[in-house]
């Protein structure tokens, strides 16, 4: 019995929760360098959590199993989210010091939101799912508004909060309908209950639609994407980096699990919704990004577009789809880590880079940085031989396996449109003549440099040894 109680602390989520409080106290009692030390501690804690997830001790206490599920898919996405979170804490450290935003709460907020995401990914119950979503969003609302003296940061925080609260309300209403009509909150029980019926009744369809709307808000799929560009633009760059990298992973895992576990027998009902979300996201992401001059807004639309592709794999709803989603999410994460690692280190006239046109002449002053940006952009556009191509490739394999020919053709067409704005960045760096040279500074700490080189290495060299990732993702079960 005693043994069991100690084991509780080796459950990754519990460990992370306890350590987050430790981090909070640690930061509170430190006199100087609180931010830096807390960040380091947070990274360390997250690394330990990864180990715990990897060696995944399965212990059951207090009905834990009915609230949270346990599978290779869940573990893969948890590790992905943890890595994303580590990378974004490391690459944003210098940025926060640079803009003199030294609140030690920031890494702690990241930790709490990562905890929320891990719970989100694993949740197997409507109630735990809702609470997990709230835990991660609340930390993010605060993070978006952390720069209190900046109007845009506060605005983005409030916007995020209001729209997030609205979507949570819709989500909760959907949950209550599902609970009311099935009599259970547990995914497996819902699935068992639904398996007795051939079609959903009206109440359940309403419930499903409401939940889908709420989840679409979280993954920022069109037409529920409006908050994304504004929040990305307003929040401090490093917070934007965190937004772009980590919460998407959790939200995607959640939407996959929600569609494929309780409602797996009602493919027709939810796939129509996802199909529409997917096409709309791909095209709006591709077209709206063309007109952007702010790099953060551009990346926001680009992430909307990427979500569209991941949803294609969800429409496919087969084993290949799950594989495609994990490979795509992996490539999405490392591409975003790489691009934000660069953006958080680029300064134009002592201001952090925001306008795309400021990249002008970068290829002369910083050839290696501009080459890296070009590679990331080509990879995001899905041009071989970089990893982004293989993400898209697996998505289309999954779609064609399910005979979704029209959807695949629309997908590739959208990818051509989106190639335009990715190329535009390369064009600005390489083709445009700049009159004022040397105003761009690239300063990067050793730790971020390691993260950047590692992710660039993965982007370029995935093609030489793909089997490592592919073998992991082939055996994932949801």
């Amino acid at each position: 019995m005693l043994n069991n109680i100690y084991n509780i602390f080796f459950i990754p989520e519990i460990f992370l929760a306890c350590s987050s409080f430790v981090c909070l106290l640690f930061g509170l009692f430190l006199k100087k360098n609180a931010f830096r030390q807390t960040s380091n501690l947070a990274v360390f804690v997250l690394l330990l959590t990864i180990l715990l997830v990897y060696y995944d001790s399965e212990s059951n206490f207090a009905n834990y199993k009915s609230l949270f599920s346990h599978s290779s898919f869940i573990n893969f996405f948890k590790i992905l989210a943890l890595f994303g979170s580590i990378a974004s804490i490391i690459i944003s450290k210098d940025y926060f010091l640079g803009i003199k935003l030294k609140n030690f709460e920031i890494p702690v907020l990241f930790l709490f939101s990562t905890l929320g995401m891990m719970l989100m990914i694993a949740s197997n119950n409507l109630m735990s799912m809702y609470l997990a979503i709230e835990l991660q969003s609340l930390s993010l609302y605060v993070a978006a508004a952390i720069k209190r003296d900046s109007i845009s940061s506060a605005e983005s925080g409030v916007k995020y909060f209001i729209l997030g609260a609205l979507s949570s309300g819709i989500l909760l209403y959907g949950f209550s309908l599902i609970y009311g009509f099935t009599g259970s909150m547990n995914f497996d029980d819902i699935s068992f209950y639904l398996s007795k019926y051939d079609n959903l009744n009206l109440g359940l369809i309403f419930g499903l639609v409401f939940v889908m709307v709420g989840l679409a808000f979280k993954v920022s799929a069109v037409p529920f994407h409006m908050w994304t560009p504004d929040v990305y633009e307003g929040a401090p760059n490093s917070i934007t980096g965190f937004f772009a990298i980590v919460p998407k992973i959790a939200a995607v895992a959640l939407i996959y699990r929600f569609c494929l576990v309780p409602f797996e027998n009602f493919y027709l009902e939810w796939s129509q919704i996802i199909l529409f979300l997917s096409i709309a996201s791909m095209f709006l992401g591709a077209i709206a990004a063309i007109a952007q001059s702010n790099i953060k807004r551009l990346l926001a639309y680009s992430s909307i577009g990427h979500i569209g592709y991941i949803l294609i794999a969800l429409v496919a709803a087969n084993d290949d789809g799950i594989k495609a989603a994990s490979i795509y999410m992996f490539s999405y994460m490392i591409m975003n880590v790489a691009i934000f690692a660069i953006l958080l280190s680029l300064k134009v006239k002592n201001e952090y880079l925001i306008n795309i046109s400021d990249l002008k002449g970068l290829s002369k002053s910083n050839p290696i940085v501009s080459l890296s940006i070009s590679i990331i952009m080509l990879s995001m556009a899905g041009i071989p031989p970089f990893i982004g191509f293989f993400g898209k490739f697996y998505v289309f394999i999954a779609a064609i396996e399910q005979e979704l020919y029209v959807l695949s053709v629309l997908g590739v067409l959208a990818s051509v449109i989106s190639a335009f704005y990715y190329l535009r960045i390369i064009k600005i760096m390489y083709f445009d003549e700049s009159k004022s040279e040397g105003i761009i500074n690239f300063q990067i700490s050793l730790q971020s440099k390691i993260i950047l080189s590692l992710s660039l290495f993965l982007i370029i060299c995935f093609i030489f040894y793909p089997s490592l990732l592919i073998n992991i993702s082939t055996n994932l079960t949801i």
Binding site: F393, S408, V416, L423, K427, P466, I470
Partner: protein, 494 residues
């Protein structure tokens, strides 16, 4: 025969050269080292590819020098390369033209020499890789990767409207090739194989074939380019630097013809049969229309660009005749066009380097000051027209002989185009070269120097060699082409 991985070495030697150059720090003194390193790498690649030719087994219609490794564990995607009679000369063309391109840009590329050379070496790797792949996905990866260096070459070192041209080039070709990706995945789903070798004996259901054929057509018709998908070509050619145009006309356009032979004819024979009238119509329109357009051009490069579209029309006619003469003619026409149009762009480059304009109006009477230049230009001009004794004649002749078996209307169309090509080329030659010098700025123009001789003379020799000894080139490819025709006829007889 050869027990070391010759093809892989040829593919990746330029990339290794590029990696070495990446670590040379560029300044005014070392830029000459970068140029030499690039030149030696490309020359080495060319010499290795000659071994490919000399050791080639003429009696074997299928792939030689095969190398095959499992690449992806989860589906049948192999690193599978090899050479057969069709790809042999495409590879030789790429490796032959690249060192000439490096030489041609020796002095006129002044900014960002290192990036330029890196682009060219990367481009060479992906071009050779594309022609050598026997796995469709590998083919696709190389096919699309070509866009990256070409986009940079046009965009960074191009002319005034280079940005427009580079975007148009990239997006146009990308649009075509992404549809091919879908087609490749559909093929894989039906057969669980990505091997070109295997798929050539495998026949898909008729309706599937039609859709697959259209998807492949989208990418190759843009690439080759066929009318009405050719509009990116004149822009790309005019704005690209000389060496860029050379590679574009010399090799990249052939990717389309190569793809038609391998994929449309080889894998989708019944659909090809169905679409032959469409191809013939488009090709004849292309030949006549673009020849007329070429006649009206005032820019030398644009004129040659339009003439490329017309020549490629002859190639597509030859390919889709699907008989021995037609296919051999198409292959010869592709090789010949690769040499001749490359040489013509280099000739334009010679006077552009001196005068910095490509307006036909500006020139006139160059023969007075540049007799040697006038001679080599004439060889290439006649090669383009298709005078007997030059390479152009063999291809056009074979295609027309083949076309008689098919339909005399096609012959009339093709022959009309050939006459028009004589008109615009001779007219161009007359305006630039003959007469007296009227423009004072031309009074001091110098004849071609040693470097330019080194570039142009090998080309002139090979144009004539091809015209006099066509069997040197036709013998190795004959059996491979026969294999494709036999497969095609078996499939359609069923």
């Amino acid at each position: 025969m050869i027990d070391w991985p010759l093809v892989s070495v040829i593919i990746f030697l330029p990339l290794i050269g590029a990696l070495i150059i990446l670590f040379i720090k560029e300044d005014e003194l070392t830029s000459i080292n970068i140029k030499w390193a690039t030149l030696l790498t490309t020359l080495g690649t060319f010499i290795l590819s000659l071994i490919l030719w000399f050791q080639f087994d003429y009696s074997n219609p299928s792939y030689q020098y095969e190398e095959k490794f499992r690449w992806f564990d989860d589906f049948n995607f192999f690193y599978h390369v090899g050479v057969d009679g069709i790809s042999l000369f495409m590879i030789l063309l790429s490796t032959f033209l690249t060192p000439l391109c490096i030489l041609a840009s020796w002095n006129n590329i002044k900014k960002r020499v290192k990036e330029y050379m890196l682009s060219f070496l990367f481009l060479e790797t992906v071009m050779i890789g594309m022609f050598a792949s026997i796995d469709i996905l590998l083919f696709y990866i190389f096919f699309e990767a070509v866009l990256i260096p070409m986009y940079l070459i046009i965009g960074i070192w191009g002319g005034n409207r280079r940005i427009y041209a580079s975007f148009k080039f990239f997006l146009y070709t990308l649009l075509g090739s992404v549809l091919m990706l879908i087609a490749i995945i559909v093929m894989y789903r039906n057969t669980s194989s990505m091997s070109i070798d295997f798929l050539q004996g495998n026949y898909f259901a008729y309706n599937t074939q039609l859709f697959l054929w259209l998807a492949f057509f989208a990418s190759f018709a843009v690439k080759i380019p066929m009318w009405p998908f050719h509009t990116w070509l004149p822009d790309a050619h005019v704005e690209a630097p000389t060496a860029g145009s050379v590679i574009l006309a010399g090799v990249l356009l052939k990717m389309g013809g190569y793809g038609f032979i391998r994929f449309s004819l080889g894998m989708l024979p019944e659909a090809t049969e169905f679409f032959i009238p469409l191809i013939m119509t488009l090709s004849i329109v292309a030949i006549v229309y673009t020849s007329l357009v070429a006649l009206a051009q005032t820019d030398i490069k644009k004129l040659i660009a339009y003439s490329s579209v017309a020549h490629m029309g002859i190639v597509t006619i030859g390919i889709f005749l699907v008989n021995q003469q037609g296919l051999e003619g198409a292959m010869m026409q592709m090789i010949s066009h690769g040499l001749v149009s490359a040489a013509l762009f280099l000739c334009v480059g010679v006077i552009y380097d001196r005068m910095h304009t490509r307006e036909i109006e500006f020139y006139g009477g160059l023969v007075q000051r540049m007799p040697l230049y006038a001679t080599v230009f004439m060889i290439f001009m006649l090669g383009s027209v298709g005078l007997p004794g030059t390479s152009g004649f063999i291809g056009e002749f074979l295609v027309i002989v083949g076309a008689f078996k098919f339909s005399s209307y096609v012959v009339i169309g093709a022959a009309f185009g050939i006459i028009l090509s004589a008109v615009y080329m001779l007219y161009l030659y007359k305006r630039i070269i003959f007469g007296t010098i009227t423009n004072n700025k031309l009074a001091d123009i110098l004849d071609i120097n040693t470097r330019e001789k080194i570039i142009l003379i090998p080309l002139a020799i090979s144009v004539i060699l091809l015209g006099i000894f066509p069997n040197l080139f036709l013998d190795p490819m004959r059996l491979s082409l026969e294999l494709i025709i036999t497969n095609y006829e078996i499939a359609n007889a069923k």
